[in-house]
């Protein structure tokens, strides 16, 4: 390949040495490459146009147009026939055995001895007392799962507490009502009540049952005096004769 005058002139200005060099290329091309290349390209285009296949699938032309796809590797006989089953078996074996699993993931780690590099203070576990160390307050409360009988026991205790509270409240309420009533009714009021005119209604049956009760026998002098006035002398004499030990003179005065 000879250089044109223009290129040589330019090169002489930049580098006279380069202008003197032969510009022939030392590369070689397979024989017949350029002669068959247009036909090869047309075949590729037609192949792509009609079948949509890629350039690598064109089965034509000398080998220098094609990428060499023959691999120098070999595969054991029936390798692909049993591959799926072999893999499944291996996966199961690995899943069931942690050592095998680690061996598969990292043979280096699997080969290492399991030595704990951490140290503890002397007699740490011997002197360790549970409950000595307080838990930090911020730690959330633990939730325990209860067994069936524990649940019933807890429910019974809870019901007992509720019942006791109700009973205690009711008792307190009743006693407080009684005392408030006692506080509210004075002795004077009671006396007035007993001296009321209506008392006759109440006292009459009470007198009839005088032998059975001592509740209302504390009757004042005026009442007795009035009651005696209603009794005639003859009846009084008969009573005195029948009960000589009775002395009602004081009461009569």
């Amino acid at each position: 390949m000879s250089k044109s005058n223009e290129i040589i002139k330019e090169l002489k200005l930049i580098s006279p040495m380069m202008a003197e060099l032969e510009s022939a290329l030392p590369y070689s091309v397979p024989e017949g490459y350029f002669a068959s290349f247009p036909v090869f390209m047309l075949a590729i285009i037609n192949n792509e146009k009609f079948s949509g296949d890629s350039i690598d699938q064109v089965e034509i032309m000398p080998s220098f147009f094609k990428k060499e796809k023959v691999l120098p590797f070999s595969v054991p006989d029936q390798y692909f026939d049993t591959l799926a089953e072999d893999l499944l078996r291996k996966v199961k074996q690995i899943e069931e055995n942690p050592k095998e699993e680690l061996k598969n993931i990292s043979p280096l780690l699997a080969g290492l001895e399991k030595i704990n590099p951490f140290t503890l203070p002397d007699h740490y576990f011997e002197t360790l007392q549970p409950g000595v160390v307080e838990k930090p307050k911020s730690e959330p409360a633990r939730i325990f799962a209860l067994g069936t009988w524990k649940r019933f026991a807890a429910a019974a205790v809870f019901a007992g507490i509720i019942l006791s509270t109700v009973v205690f409240y009711l008792n307190n309420t009743a006693s407080s009502v009684d005392s408030s009533t006692k506080m509210a009714v004075s002795e004077k009021a009671l006396e007035d009540f007993l001296l009321d005119d209506n008392l006759e209604i109440i006292t009459e049956p009470l007198i009839e049952d005088a032998n059975n009760t001592m509740v209302l026998l504390d009757i004042n002098e005026n009442t007795i005096h009035e009651m005696l006035l209603t009794v005639d002398d003859k009846a009084i004499k008969e009573f005195m004769n029948e009960n000589p030990e009775a002395d009602i003179s004081n009461q009569m005065n």
């Binding site: 290129i7 060099l21 510009s23 290329l25 490459y33 247009p38 285009i45 037609n46 990428k67």
Partner: protein, 183 residues
């Protein structure tokens, strides 16, 4: 550089269904070698160049339908070839986890693996020197030194000003000269 009248006629034939394939084949025939060597100088080995060239012409087939005839087919093809080559190098870099600084050393290694490589021969030394250039300077040097592309056309291919391209070419030549003298 290119026969524009001829290109225009090829494009016209491409847009007619009956002559579409014939026009396409003619375009491939006309530009395949130029584009191949442009790509080959970028990616170094034949297999990679072949991959890029095939992808390029597939894109040409798809893109020619919408190609604007006011643009030059020739510069359009070089632009695709350049972009495809740089993308290919970028993909290879990602696949092999090579850092940006190691791209040129990766290309140099490819060069060493080429059939007939001889580090003492000047033509191989020149190729080794080109692979040490930054990406943009490498493209500019190849287009100017080997393809003898006018700066105006190169400006359309690389969408860079003529002044910037001249400066890039100047720097590239100086670096290559320095490489050849010192090694």
């Amino acid at each position: 550089m290119a026969d524009f009248e001829d290109d225009r006629e090829l494009l016209r034939l491409f847009h007619v269904e009956e002559t579409k394939e014939k026009a396409y084949t003619s375009i491939v025939k006309k530009y395949q070698e130029k584009l191949y060597w442009h790509i080959r100088r970028m990616v170094v080995n034949h297999e990679d160049a072949n991959d890029v060239l095939q992808n390029l012409f597939i894109k040409v087939w798809r893109g020619l339908e919408n190609f604007r005839e006011d643009a030059q087919l020739y510069t359009w093809l070089y632009r695709i070839a350049t972009n495809e080559s740089l993308t290919y190098i970028e993909q290879q870099k990602k696949r092999t986890s090579v850092s940006f600084d190691d791209v040129s050393s990766g290309l140099e290694n490819k060069l060493v693996a080429e059939k007939g490589f001889d580090a003492n021969k000047l033509e191989w030394k020149l190729q080794a020197a080109i692979q040490t250039l930054p990406e943009k300077q490498r493209v500019v040097f190849n287009l100017r030194y080997y393809d003898e592309m006018p700066y105006e056309e190169m400006s359309q291919v690389l969408e860079t000003s003529v002044g910037a391209l001249k400066a890039s070419y100047h720097h590239a030549v100086k670096k290559i000269e320095e490489y050849l003298i010192n090694r």
